[in-house]
């Protein structure tokens, strides 16, 4: 796998950080090297929220994203802020409710709508997003991602999160 430098952005409370942790875990299970980090502070309390995951083979080296190869944006402000200056070949998955800035490689997917309407719970948007990201980038085998999801989500929510993951993958 080529080095993936990934940014997950949205607003606090959308489960952005958890999604990034789960993906890092899945990458580890799949035998890759991975690191995860996040922005803390007032930003993490309802404002723009950012988490980073780097996946590669062998030594990870520098642990922060320098040149994003991927961006997930679940809010307009996070899309506007973090799409600026990324390479043309950086894949951006944005929620389809957002207005996509021109000139970028943006894939719109109805992540939040799927969570709300298909699953019936907006809080699984992050898991829907994970399903969509992995289906698009083919980072880890789907069963490995499922294993990682189930390791982190609260007990008793296995079924709803599995559904969310599958719905995301189908987007």
């Amino acid at each position: 796998m080529n080095r993936q430098e990934m940014r997950f952005t949205g607003s606090g409370g959308q489960g952005i950080i958890l999604a990034s942790v789960i993906l890092a875990e899945a990458a580890l299970i799949a035998g890759h090297t991975a690191v995860q980090s996040q922005t803390y502070g007032p930003e993490a309390r309802g404002g723009v929220c950012k988490a980073e995951v780097i996946i590669c083979e062998g030594d990870i080296g520098f642990t922060k994203v320098v040149k994003p190869t991927f961006l997930l944006a679940l809010t307009q402000s996070s899309l506007d802020r973090y799409s600026k200056g990324v390479d043309k070949d950086c894949i951006i998955i944005a929620d389809s409710s957002l207005v996509a800035p021109k000139g970028y490689n943006i894939v719109s997917k109805p992540i939040i709508q799927t969570a709300k309407e298909k699953i019936g719970k907006a809080f699984v948007s992050n898991i829907v997003a994970l399903g969509a990201i992995n289906a698009h980038l083919k980072l880890v085998p789907p069963d490995v991602l499922k294993e990682a999801v189930l390791k982190y989500v609260p007990k008793g929510t296995d079924e709803i999160n599995t559904k969310a993951l599958e719905a995301g993958a189908a987007l």
């Binding site: 803390y40 502070g41 080296g61 642990t63």
Partner: protein
């Protein structure tokens, strides 16, 4: 390398790895107080300790947390606390007590941007000199700095080993970058770990150091020795004295514990120093930007190498002097206004030009910023 790849890796945050390392080292008491960005250390200790028969207590303030672990260690249980920025300042008095009363204990300092409340969630290496000189009076200090989550685990164990062997507080000077980073690490089989425990000899005075030994060998409280521990100048039997002779001898003995054993305590990492003309000196959370910068510079044909002190205190001055002879330039990168660079200047006495890159705005030093100076 191939074998290592096959080992099962678990995803842990640096702060969590410190707790796992501590438990592996035998830590069974943690006293803490919440403070960003070290809080996860306390949270993980609260989860893990009862699982292994240990106890966690959240104290009323930073000072109390430091006091409690000294009490816990005096009672014979390996004890730890964790803090950041303002909390490190508040703990200084009791750290001096632990150094002077020779009570082993470990403090994890997840450094954050200062001074004062500063930028609580931003990384820094601004406590390097405070670790050395933070408490009043002359005292011995051991401080280590991890550069990876895996090192958080292993260096916490080493902190405990050193604290038991030298009978003193030992600091793990981590930072927000490493503390909050999640990374896959291999948790080793506990049987493969080297764990040191304090030597005990109840037949000699509690603060006497037998010939050829490093530190006193008093027993933990409750085992029949019934001695006195004090922060006053004390005799070998533990009781206070106003003797200036004893005061001088005691302070000197404590400093010599470190000075006479620097080779045992000092650890560092070197990369590409065989042919390096420019040596980047970085440690802790700055290391990985430095490593990347060196890689970038080498790709352009520049002969750059890395010297990374893993032991910050005592400072590896001797090794710095040796590598200075071969280098054309040092580049020193720290998340502060210039702290460890003073020690490097002191050691090299202008034998080699030093370019300093310091950051005090709470942002992370990037590889290209270091590369530009190579």
């Amino acid at each position: 390398m191939a074998a290592k790849q096959k080992e099962k890796r678990v995803l842990l945050q640096g702060n969590e790895a410190c707790v796992e390392g501590a438990i592996a080292a035998g830590m069974r008491f943690f006293a803490g107080y919440p403070i960003t960005p070290s809080t996860e250390v306390a949270e993980q200790a609260a989860i893990r300790l009862p699982q292994v028969g240990g106890r966690f207590i959240q104290m009323e303030d930073e000072i109390a947390a430091m006091a409690a672990i000294i009490g816990g260690s005096a009672a014979g249980v390996k004890s730890m606390t964790a803090t950041s920025g303002p909390g490190f300042s508040l703990k200084q008095e009791n750290l001096g007590y632990a150094a002077f009363a020779e009570v082993p204990c470990v403090l994890i300092n997840v450094q954050r941007s200062g001074p004062s409340t500063g930028l609580p969630t931003s990384p820094s290496q601004g406590d390097i000199m405070q670790a050395r000189w933070g408490t009043h009076g002359d005292h011995p200090v051991i401080a280590l700095a991890p550069a990876t989550v895996e090192e958080c685990y292993h260096l916490t164990i080493r902190c405990f080993n050193l604290s038991e062997k030298y009978r003193m507080p030992v600091f793990l000077m981590t930072d927000e970058i490493i503390g909050h980073l999640r990374e896959g690490i291999v948790i080793p089989d506990p049987k493969t770990l080297k764990i040191e425990n304090r030597k005990i000899n109840k037949k000699i005075p509690p603060f006497a150091v037998p010939k050829g030994e490093i530190a006193p060998q008093s027993a933990p409280f409750g085992q029949g020795q019934r001695y006195n521990i004090t922060g006053l100048v004390h005799r070998e039997d533990g009781f206070p004295t106003n003797s200036t002779t004893i005061a001088g001898e005691l302070c000197t003995r404590l400093m010599k514990k470190i000075e006479d054993n620097v080779d045992d305590i000092i650890e560092y990492e070197e990369r590409h120093l065989e042919d390096a003309e420019v040596i980047v000196i970085a440690y802790g959370g700055t290391t990985r930007a430095a490593t990347k910068a060196i890689e970038l510079a080498r790709a352009k044909g520049k002969k750059a190498g890395l010297f990374r002190p893993i032991t910050i205190w005592p400072f590896p001055a001797k090794r710095i002097q040796e590598i200075a002879k071969k280098a054309k330039k040092f580049v020193v990168a720290e998340h502060n206004y210039g702290q460890l660079v003073h020690e490097i200047r002191l050691a090299t006495k202008d034998a080699v030009p030093i370019e300093f890159l310091g950051k005090v705005d709470g942002t992370i030093i990037m590889p290209n910023e270091i590369e530009e100076l190579i």
